[in-house]
C-alpha cells in the first residue's frame, strides 16, 4: 500500500467491531490461551465424528462450553437469517416456517444444533437438490484460540472480499475457532413435496429427471424425493412411475455408518455388491449410509496433510480448541467385518 492509500483508508481503519454482549460473553468464557483446552458441546448428535478417542462424557481436563443460542434476526426480503449457533436446527426451522422459507439444513437428528451441523459439515439426504451444508453459510463470527472475536465472510448474499474463512470453518470440527453466530442463506419452501419408491435403475431414472431433490438406492430399490410446484411434481412423478416407482411415505431408515465415495463408483458397482445390499446410497452425490466394501476415494496426499498441520497450528498454536478431533479422520466407512463385530 502506498502512503496515500494508507492515509485515504486510514480514516476508518476499524472494520466492524463486534459489540454483541452475548458474543463478548462467549469470548470471555472461552478466554485467552492461558485458560486451557475447551471443547464445545452441541446436541451431541454427531459427537464421535473425527474423534474416535474423545470419551462421550467429555474429555478429562478439557472444559466443556456451549455456544449461545437464539435466532437474532430473520429478514425474509433478504433471504438471510442471523442465528446463534447453539440454536437447534429444529428451532430455527420452526422460526422460518411461517414465512414460507427454510435453510437447507435438513434431515438431522432432533437436538442437532446449527453450530454442530456446520462444524461437522455433513449434508443431509437432500444435498442433491439443495446443495451442500457449506453453501448456506454467508458469515460467521467465531471465538479464536486467543479468545478474540473474528468475523469471517460478510453480511450479504454475495461476497468475495478477502480469503474465504467460512469455507474453512465448515467441517473443521471446531479446530479453527468456536462458532458464535452465523448468517445463513434461506430458500423458499417448495409448494409441494413427496417421496416415490420402487425397484428401478436409479441412473436411468436420474437421466430423465430434472434436478430431483433426493435419489436414494439400496442396490435394488430406489427412493425419490420431488419438490416444486404441483404441476411439475406431477410431471416428474409420471416419469418416475414409468420407471416402476409409486408414491410412498418417505425415505428408508438409514443404516448406521456413513462414507463419502466417488459417485461414479456407485454406477459401476458389481452385481454381487448390489445384491448384498446393506447400504443406502445417495445417487448423484456419493454419500453411502451403512456398509460399503466398494472402492474408496484416494486418501489425501501428503501435501494436503501438511497443509492441515500448518493451518491448524496457525489458528490454534497451543491445540486448545476441541483437542482430540481430527477433521482428516472424519470419513470412515463401516466395512463388512466391522459391521459383524458391532
Amino acid at each position: 500500500m502506498t502512503a496515500t492509500d494508507q492515509s485515504r483508508a486510514g480514516a476508518a481503519q476499524l472494520g466492524r467491531v463486534v459489540r454483541d454482549p452475548i458474543l463478548l460473553a462467549f469470548a470471555d468464557e472461552v478466554g485467552a490461551a492461558e485458560a486451557g483446552p475447551v471443547a464445545v458441546e452441541g446436541g451431541r448428535t454427531q459427537w464421535e465424528v473425527g474423534a474416535p478417542d474423545v470419551p462421550t462424557a467429555g474429555p478429562g481436563d478439557v472444559r466443556l462450553v456451549r455456544a449461545p443460542s437464539g435466532v437474532v434476526a430473520f429478514e425474509p426480503a433478504e433471504m438471510t437469517v442471523l442465528v446463534r449457533v447453539g440454536t437447534t436446527v429444529a428451532e430455527l426451522d420452526a422460526e422460518l416456517r411461517p414465512s414460507g422459507q427454510q435453510v437447507a439444513l435438513e434431515g438431522f437428528e432432533p437436538g442437532a444444533t446449527v453450530g454442530g451441523v456446520l462444524s461437522v459439515g455433513r449434508s443431509g439426504i437432500t444435498r442433491l437438490g439443495h446443495g451442500p451444508v457449506r453453501d448456506t453459510l454467508l458469515q460467521a463470527r467465531y471465538v479464536s484460540a486467543e479468545g478474540l472475536l473474528v468475523t469471517a465472510g460478510g453480511p450479504t448474499v454475495k461476497n468475495v472480499t478477502g480469503f474465504d474463512l467460512c469455507r474453512l470453518l465448515v467441517g473443521s470440527l471446531g479446530t479453527i475457532g468456536l462458532l458464535g453466530d452465523v448468517l445463513l442463506r434461506t430458500r423458499p419452501r417448495p409448494q409441494h413435496s413427496g417421496w416415490w419408491c420402487g425397484e428401478a435403475d436409479p441412473f436411468a431414472l436420474q437421466d430423465q429427471l430434472y434436478r430431483p431433490t433426493s435419489l436414494l438406492w439400496d442396490g435394488t430399490r430406489v427412493w425419490l424425493r420431488l419438490d416444486g410446484y404441483h404441476a411439475d411434481v406431477a410431471d416428474q412423478a409420471a416419469v418416475a412411475e414409468r420407471h416402476g416407482l409409486a408414491a410412498c411415505e418417505g425415505p428408508p431408515v438409514l443404516p448406521a455408518g456413513r462414507c463419502s465415495v466417488d459417485p461414479g463408483a456407485l454406477r459401476r458397482l458389481d452385481a454381487a455388491r448390489r445384491e448384498a445390499g446393506g447400504f443406502v446410497a445417495e445417487i448423484g452425490v456419493g454419500i453411502v449410509h451403512g456398509r460399503w466394501d466398494g472402492p474408496r476415494p484416494t486418501p489425501p496426499d501428503h501435501q494436503v496433510r501438511a497443509l492441515h498441520r500448518r493451518i491448524r497450528r496457525a489458528f490454534d498454536p497451543t491445540g486448545r480448541l476441541n483437542p482430540g478431533r481430527d477433521p482428516l479422520a472424519a470419513s470412515q466407512p463401516i466395512t463388512a467385518g466391522q459391521e459383524a463385530s458391532r
Binding site: 404441476a231 461414479g264 476415494p297
Partner: protein, 447 residues
C-alpha cells in the same frame, strides 16, 4: 493499472507450471498467475518483476458425463466450455458478462459470478476438485470427486483466493442441466425507486429467479442506440428478469413476477415471445460495458454488494456522489443479489478527471459499507481494494486471513502483493494475556 513483469511464461502442462514456479523460487522471484487478464481488481497485474504464469495455452477439456462433471485446464474460456457442453444438454452455470473472454482459472481464482448466479450460485458452488501447484512447486489435489473429502474444505479456500495460494492447473466443475423451460421478462418503470422495490418484493414473495438485472435510464439509452435490444429509452429503469426450470414453475413464477412488477407501477411487462427475442434482450445487457464507449472513451466499473433492501438507498447516494464530482455514472447490475456495478464514465484526457473518478469511487465504496454491504461481490480485492480492507475487517479478522494464506504459502511466493494490505499480520496476537485480550475485544484494533 500498470504492471512490471519479470519473465512471462506460457506453459502447456502442469509439469511446465511446476517448472516455472520452481525456477522462480530459485531466483527469489514471486509468481503471478494470469488467465485472460479480464480481471478488474488488478489481481493479475505483476508488481516487482515477478514470473508471470499465463495459462491461456492450457486448453484441454475432458467431459465426464457419468459423473456430470468436466475436467478443464485453467485456460479454457468460460463461454467456449458452455458452447461445447450445450449439445449434450448441459452448461457451466457461472456466466460473467466477460464470459466470451475470461478463463476458468480466473473464474475459480476470483469466485466469479454472473447474472444467472442468483439461483445457481457463484463459481464456488460448481467446483468439485482443483489440482494446484503450490508456491514451492509441489503438486496437490484440493477437494475430490467424492462429496465430502476428508479434512478442511481446502477446495473452498482456494476458490476466490485470487492467485495468492497457488496456481490451478486442472479443475473439475459440475455440469448444470439446461432448464427445460425459460421465460425472460422485461419490466419498464418510470421511477428507479419502484424498480428497486420490485426486486425486494419478488424475493420476499418466495421466488428466486434465475436472474434479476437492473439497468438505469442512461445505460438503457446507450445500449439501445448500440444494439437495438428493444429497451424502452424513456424508462427510468428496467428490470430484466429470467425464470427457468420445469414448465409449471416457470408459468407460475412468470405470472408472479409480472404481478409484483405491475403492483410496483411498472408501465409494461413484456415476456420474450421466442428465443430470438430472449437472446436480444440479453445481448443488450451483456454488451452494456462495450456500449459506453459511445459516450466517453474510458470507464471505471465498481463492484460492491449491499443488502437487497438497501439497493434504492445506496443507488440514490451513488447518483449524488457522481454528480458532486462531476462524473457521469450509469448503473447496470445484478439487482437480485444486491450486487451494484456503478459505471463511472469519463475521458482520461481531461485534466484532473482521474482524481475525481477515484474520489467518487471511494465514496461509493464507503456508502455501500455504511449500508451494511461488502467491498466486492465478484471482482475481488486484488490491488484495487486493498486499501479498503480495513473498512470491512478488524485487525484481528485480517490477521486470521493472513494466517490462512501463509499456511498455504509460507514463503510468500504466490502473488504476494495482492488482497491483504501491509500490516495484516500481527504475531503478537498469539501471546495475549487476558487483560490485553479484553482491551482488543473492546477496541477492535491493535493499539
Amino acid at each position: 493499472m500498470r504492471g512490471d513483469a519479470g519473465v512471462v511464461c506460457f506453459p502447456l502442462t502442469t509439469e511446465e507450471v511446476q517448472h516455472c514456479v520452481r525456477i522462480a523460487g530459485r531466483h527469489g522471484r514471486a509468481v503471478v498467475p494470469r488467465g485472460a487478464g479480464t480481471g478488474l481488481a488488478g489481481g493479475a497485474v505483476p508488481k516487482d518483476a515477478p514470473v508471470v504464469v499465463v495459462t491461456t495455452k492450457m486448453q484441454q477439456v475432458e467431459v465426464d458425463r457419468d459423473r456430470r462433471l468436466v475436467w478443464v485446464q485453467p485456460g479454457v474460456i468460460n463461454l467456449d466450455l458452455t458452447k461445447q457442453l450445450r449439445p449434450d444438454g448441459f452448461h457451466f452455470a457461472p456466466d460473467p458478462s466477460s464470459q466470451q473472454s475470461c478463463s476458468l482459472g480466473g473464474n475459480v481464482a476470483n469466485n466469479s459470478g454472473g447474472p444467472h448466479c442468483l439461483a445457481y450460485g457463484v463459481t464456488s458452488a460448481h467446483v468439485v476438485a482443483i489440482e494446484v501447484v503450490l508456491g514451492d512447486g509441489e503438486l496437490t489435489m484440493l477437494g475430490g470427486l467424492d462429496p465430502e473429502p476428508a479434512g478442511y474444505d481446502l477446495r473452498g479456500v482456494f476458490v476466490g483466493s485470487e492467485g495468492c495460494v497457488g496456481i490451478a492447473t486442472r479443475i473439475a466443475v459440475r455440469l448444470t442441466p439446461n432448464p427445460p423451460a425459460v421465460a425472460t421478462l422485461l419490466a419498464d418503470f418510470v421511477e428507479p425507486a419502484d424498480a428497486a422495490a420490485a426486486v425486494s418484493a419478488i424475493i420476499a414473495a418466495g421466488v428466486v429467479p434465475a436472474a434479476i438485472e437492473m439497468m438505469d435510464q442512461r445505460i438503457t439509452q446507450v445500449v439501445e442506440a448500440f444494439v437495438g435490444a428493444g429497451y424502452p429509452t424513456d424508462a427510468g429503469a428496467i428490470l430484466l428478469v429470467e425464470v427457468d426450470g420445469l414448465p409449471g414453475g416457470v408459468a407460475a413464477e412468470t405470472a408472479l413476477v409480472d404481478e409484483v412488477c405491475r403492483a410496483h407501477r411498472a408501465r409494461s411487462v413484456r415476456v420474450a415471445a421466442d428465443d430470438e427475442e430472449r437472446m436480444l434482450l440479453w445481448k443488450g445487457r451483456k454488451t452494456a460495458f462495450g456500449a459506453v464507449a459511445r459516450v466517453k472513451p474510458n470507464y471505471y466499473l465498481h463492484d460492491t454488494v449491499v443488502p437487497r433492501t438497501k439497493l434504492l438507498d445506496v443507488l440514490r447516494q451513488v447518483y449524488e456522489i457522481a454528480d458532486r464530482h462531476g462524473i457521469i455514472v450509469m448503473n447496470v447490475f445484478h439487482a437480485g443479489d444486491g450486487n451494484l456495478h456503478p459505471l463511472l464514465v469519463f475521458d482520461a484526457r481531461e485534466p484532473g478527471v482521474l482524481d475525481r473518478v477515484h474520489d467518487a469511487g471511494e465514496e461509493i465504496v464507503r456508502a455501500s459499507l455504511d449500508a451494511g454491504g461488502v467491498l466486492s461481490g465478484e471482482h475481488g480485492i486484488g490491488l484495487e481494494k486493498q486499501p479498503f480492507m480495513g473498512w470491512q475487517f478488524t485487525t484481528v479478522d485480517l490477521d486470521a486471513q493472513a494466517r490462512l494464506r501463509d499456511a498455504f504459502d509460507p514463503d510468500g511466493r504466490c502473488n504476494p502483493a495482492k488482497v491483504l494490505p501491509a500490516g495484516s499480520r500481527c504475531g503478537d496476537l498469539q501471546h495475549l494475556d487476558d487483560s490485553r485480550r479484553r482491551q482488543l475485544l473492546d477496541d477492535g484494533a491493535w493499539v
